[in-house]
Each structure stands twice: as structure tokens, then as C-alpha cells.
């Protein structure tokens, strides 16, 4: 179990960075919202924004690498679909990091009280 905890904390820093980096852009956040029902392909998504198809395609690729959207084939079309689990994970990551540090603070407190006892 403790072994898992370490793996989680390593993974946390990594995913955290990618997910928030991907969400740190207005267009990408808007794509994530539009793609919840997963009906539009990249070309259709691109029509919503005052930018080129290539630019929107780039944004979708960044979201895809962060695990926030996936491309799914429906018949001959490819649609962009939001991965809600990826989004929820973003909310959990900081909680895990908080726990890691709270445990460290507890050990610090323990250490300080131990040295006090030996001095008394």
C-alpha cells in the first residue's frame, strides 16, 4: 500500500503538469466543454473559433496527449470526445499532494517533540 502511495505521488506530479498545462488556454477549455457529447470532428469544432483548422487541430492534439479528450471513430467520421475521468483527476491531484505534505509536517512535529524530551 505504501509502495502504491509513492507511485501515485510520482505519477501525480507528471499528470498534474500535463493536465493543467493543457487546460491553461481558453480555446482548449472551450473544446473540452463542447466535446462532452462527442458529436463533432476537428473540422466542425474549428468552425467555432476564429482560427485555422491547423491551429484547432494542434489544440486537440495537446488535449489528447493530456488524456483530456479522445478521438473516436463513428462510421466514416472521427469525433472528439471529452474524457471526464481525466478532468476529475485534475481535481484530485492537489489533494494527494496536500496529503503527502501533511504527513511530512506530522513527522517534523514528532521529531521536534522527541528532541525536546531528550533535552529535558
Amino acid at each position: 500500500m505504501l509502495y502504491n502511495r509513492i507511485v501515485v505521488s510520482v505519477q501525480t506530479v507528471f499528470d498534474h503538469d500535463r493536465i493543467f498545462g493543457a487546460l491553461a488556454d481558453t480555446t482548449r477549455r472551450d473544446i473540452v466543454r463542447r466535446a462532452i457529447d462527442g458529436r463533432e470532428g476537428v473540422a466542425q469544432l474549428a468552425e467555432h473559433y476564429p482560427m485555422s483548422f491547423a491551429a484547432v487541430q494542434k489544440h486537440v492534439a495537446i488535449l489528447e496527449r493530456a488524456g483530456l479528450v479522445t478521438k473516436e471513430r463513428i462510421g466514416r467520421r472521427k469525433v472528439v470526445h471529452t474524457n471526464l475521468e481525466g478532468l476529475r483527476m485534475a481535481r484530485r491531484l492537489l489533494d494527494q499532494y496536500e496529503e503527502l505534505w501533511c504527513e511530512r509536517i506530522n513527522r517534523m512535529t514528532q521529531l521536534i517533540s522527541e528532541t525536546k524530551e531528550t533535552h529535558q
Binding site: R29, D37, L84, R91, W101, I105, M108
Partner: protein
């Protein structure tokens, strides 16, 4: 419980943790400055840390490994950006390869530690952790950290709420 406050800003990639200790600032500083004490709190009990190098000067490094129950030894390092004993320590914290060089697969995070006596023998310590790769940071600065990133937090919540609504309707 000595942790008195935790503030998290998921969109700004920041966590600030405040703790209060029943000890003078110099004693709290020793938790960081003495490698033998640092070893006793950095890693969890089942993953004790061994500090192999410890130089708390600007540009200096702390190198450590942890030893797991299976004998596995994940390695890490700090790179010191600012230090003012016993008040302040700023370092980048990252994972290391077996030879101690930074493992660039994992981004570094920055920690700013402030230690301040608040009277009656008590000392307050705050730790601010900031995560960002250089790339993510540039991107954030370019779009205006304050506005853009505060929105992101609210929007994640809004998106999740919308999804719950859709599930309820369907």
C-alpha cells in the same frame, strides 16, 4: 495537529501549506539544514530517505534516494535557488536518474519555505509548492496567469456540473 491552513489553487498549480511549531525558528530550520533530521521526515516510514549529498547554498544540491520495502530506490534531488538561514529556503525539487542527473521525464516543482517566529516560543512555517514545466509556465505567462487560470478552476467545476446535469436528464 500542527498544520493550520492549506490553500490550493489548482488552476495556478499552487499549494500553500502553513504549519505552526512549538519551537524557535532555529530549531525548525534544523529540520531542513541537518541532513540526518531531513532524512527522518522527507520519506514515509516504509520509504525512508537517505541523503547522499547536502549543500544548502545558492546553486548547491541535495541528492537523496529512498529505499522501498522491495529494495527499490527512487532517487531525487533539490537545486537551491535562494537561502537565508533560518528564515527562507527556495529550491527546485525533481526526480533523478540513477547517476543523480535530473530525470527530465518528470517536471520539477518549486518549493518556497518561509520560517518565522510568532512569539511565545512558537514558529510558523509556510511551504508554497508551484508546479510547472518551463513550457507550461511560458504558456501561462503568455496568456495572463491571474485571469486565465482562475477561470480554469471554475470551468473544470462547471464542466463537471454540466455533465452531472446531462446524466440526470438522460
Amino acid at each position: 495537529m500542527t498544520v493550520i491552513a492549506v490553500r490550493k489553487d489548482p488552476a495556478a498549480l499552487t499549494m500553500i501549506l502553513e504549519a505552526e511549531f512549538d519551537a524557535p525558528a532555529e530549531r525548525v530550520w534544523q529540520l531542513w539544514a541537518d541532513p540526518r533530521q531531513l532524512e527522518r521526515w522527507w520519506g514515509p516510514p516504509a520509504y525512508p530517505a537517505t541523503i547522499t549529498s547536502h549543500d544548502l547554498r545558492v546553486g548547491g544540491r541535495v541528492v537523496y534516494h529512498m529505499t522501498g520495502p522491495e529494495g527499490d530506490q527512487p532517487k531525487g534531488y533539490w537545486e537551491i535557488d535562494d537561502v537565508e538561514p533560518p528564515r527562507r529556503l527556495v529550491f527546485r525539487d525533481g526526480f533523478a536518474n540513477d547517476d543523480g542527473t535530473p530525470n527530465t521525464e518528470f517536471p520539477e516543482s518549486t518549493a518556497r519555505v518561509s520560517i518565522e517566529e510568532v512569539g511565545r516560543g512558537k514558529t510558523r512555517m509556510s511551504i508554497e509548492s508551484i508546479f510547472a514545466s518551463a513550457e507550461a509556465m511560458e504558456q501561462m505567462l503568455a496568456m495572463g496567469m491571474e485571469e486565465g487560470l482562475k477561470q480554469a478552476a471554475g470551468q473544470i467545476d462547471a464542466i463537471l456540473a454540466e455533465d452531472r446535469g446531462a446524466v440526470a436528464e438522460g
